[in-house]
Symmetry: C2
Subunit: 305 residues, 2 copies
Amino acid sequence: MTAALGEDWSAARLAAWMTPHLAHVEEALSAWVGTDSPVQLGDAMRYAVLDGGKRLRPLLVVAASEAVGGSPAASLRAACAVELIHAYSLVHDDMPCMDNDVLRRGKPTVHVKFGEADALLAGDALQALAFELLTPDDGTIELVVQANLCRLLARAAGSQGMAGGQAIDLASVGKSLDEAQLREMHRLKTGALLQGSVEMGAACACAVSARALSALRDYGAALGLAFQIVDDILDVTADSSTLGKTAGKDAASDKPTYVSLLGLERARGQARGLLADALAALDRSGLSDAAALRALAYMVVDRDR
Amino acid sequence: MTAALGEDWSAARLAAWMTPHLAHVEEALSAWVGTDSPVQLGDAMRYAVLDGGKRLRPLLVVAASEAVGGSPAASLRAACAVELIHAYSLVHDDMPCMDNDVLRRGKPTVHVKFGEADALLAGDALQALAFELLTPDDGTIELVVQANLCRLLARAAGSQGMAGGQAIDLASVGKSLDEAQLREMHRLKTGALLQGSVEMGAACACAVSARALSALRDYGAALGLAFQIVDDILDVTADSSTLGKTAGKDAASDKPTYVSLLGLERARGQARGLLADALAALDRSGLSDAAALRALAYMVVDRDR
């Protein structure tokens, strides 16, 4: 199955690919986030975004963009924009009226550090900044690409994407969901932005075949769901210091998860099955250089935090 | 001064212009907001947006677009998008960690009606929806126009616009600001989105002269500040039932305002001066049909709620 795409990457090869991209993303985020904002707001925005996070979504954007020959300038901005949406969602999700969490990435959450009002505003400002990053007026990104990136990001973030999934999550605490309902919730809550990251990467090139686009969407959908199942597994099997956030909180807050619904082993089996789906989608994409996307799929399923 | 633009409109003439535009905007908002969202989230989004509000920002978009010969399809979407940003900001602003207000447009605020978590998510989803409305993939709006509209809206909404102004507002409770600091806060908090509305209207046409763009920006800036000064005046002079929101809350929360800083008469004088500035900007715009923009400027300064 892997023959057409070359050998799978070793961990060292993946690290060699990731390291410079992660450095670019960190550098860009540091330059773009909160630097020209009112002091306290800018500090809260930077605290929410910098020095933490696996940057999985930015890596998916960059890998997908490279696979289709996308514009590096566009993919760097798109990578930062999806990370800002992810970061704002964590800030708001951690607030007392939502998950009321005090620990994130091993540090006090934004509202603990800056107060609830500034946490609320910092999240709001990060969402706006995501769209601002996608629409520079310096001629570095074609306006057509800008519009497509904004469309994909808005859909992935909104009420039929991430925010919608969070609302379903909220409404389902203490209720019993069946597997289809749980999958739908996660398809929106976590999957939409991960899939959106892959699609935004693909949108960094002006001409991509319908076959490749469709395959990348399938890859993103499978990867997105696999990510959430692994999250559910780690919430049970890992400890807080490894996770950098409070472990065991799903069970504590009586949230339905893949583990509570299927048990640990069947959940693990589903994650492996989705990994296979993601890799199969790449196989049929017709893309000659999808090795980074393959390696990221393995990384998502095999991670320990 | 008004000769080049024709006679100023009567109240009846303004109403005749506004009525069909307001109907279009209401109809579009009702069709686009919360209809395909998870139930409780969609209800909260619709509650926040529909059946209320003066729709000043949409009217500014439409009037500016008409003045430059913009695309009606683009201006309707831009009008709805700015209103969604305005609506989301009210939802978040009313929350207990911010202004903790229970009354808005004569109704319970969103978090009182739906709970804080859904209010938070509804606001987040409304911001995303604003950008989604600007980026349809049905060919009705040129992608170049879409990108420009997204850029203007993101800047107006973000940390160097509305959200930044709210952060300064928050940080200045109980402090004494001088007039320059107060103006800067309002330029961001309220002015940025009002000015952005005018600029977005102008961006609905592909080719607008630099002279007209610059004049419209000046018009929007003057109008935006005038709006806030009148707001400060009404907070002192009007009652809650006329305003549809809690009157007297600036003084109660010890917020610096134009009235607390300058007194009622000087504040009124500044509002009239800014009205004159806005009208003068239209005079030098070179636009042949700015009558609606003129009438809206009068309406902003002469309103009683």
